[in-house]
Symmetry: C2
C-alpha cells in the first residue's frame, strides 16, 4: 500500500521559502502573483495491506516525526 | 485563481531526504516501510482568472524556477 502525506504550514505561519520563491518569480518577470506557500509531500510504501492499520501507522509517523504539530498540518492519502 | 504545483523526483533519482526519513522512522520503531520519497507542493495565488493563461504562466514558472528538469517532474493543478 502507498501512503501520501501532505504537509503544509498552518495559516498565518510565516513561510520564508514561499516568500523567497515569490520574490524570485517576480524578479524573473512573472506578474500577478499574490501569494506563494510551499509544502511537502512524503510518499511511503508500506507492506501493510489493511487500510485501517496503515492509516494508524502513518498517523503515528506524522505525530512522531513527519509533521511539526506547532506549525504544520498534515493530511494522509492511501492508495 | 490558485495553482498547486506538485514536484517529485524522477524515478531512479537518488532521494537522500527520503532515505533519511525512512531510516529515522525505522529507528523510531516503525516497521513494514519499503520506501520513502519526498516531494514538494508549491501553492501560488494568481490574479489571473483565465485558466489557459494561468496554466501557461505557471508552466513557465516551473520551467524557469520551480522544477529542476534534469531530476524532477511537475504537475500543475488549478482551482
Amino acid at each position: 500500500m502507498k501512503a501520501k502525506v501532505h504537509i503544509t504550514l498552518k495559516p498565518g505561519v510565516h513561510d520564508p521559502q514561499g516568500r523567497a520563491i515569490g520574490g524570485a518569480l517576480s524578479h524573473l518577470g512573472f506578474t500577478g502573483i499574490t501569494g506563494v506557500r510551499q509544502g511537502k509531500v512524503i510518499e511511503i510504501d508500506l507492506d501493510e495491506t489493511d487500510r485501517k492499520r496503515a492509516l494508524e501507522a502513518v498517523d503515528g509517523m506524522c505525530k512522531a516525526l513527519l509533521a511539526n504539530p506547532v506549525i504544520e498540518t498534515y493530511a494522509i492519502e492511501l492508495s
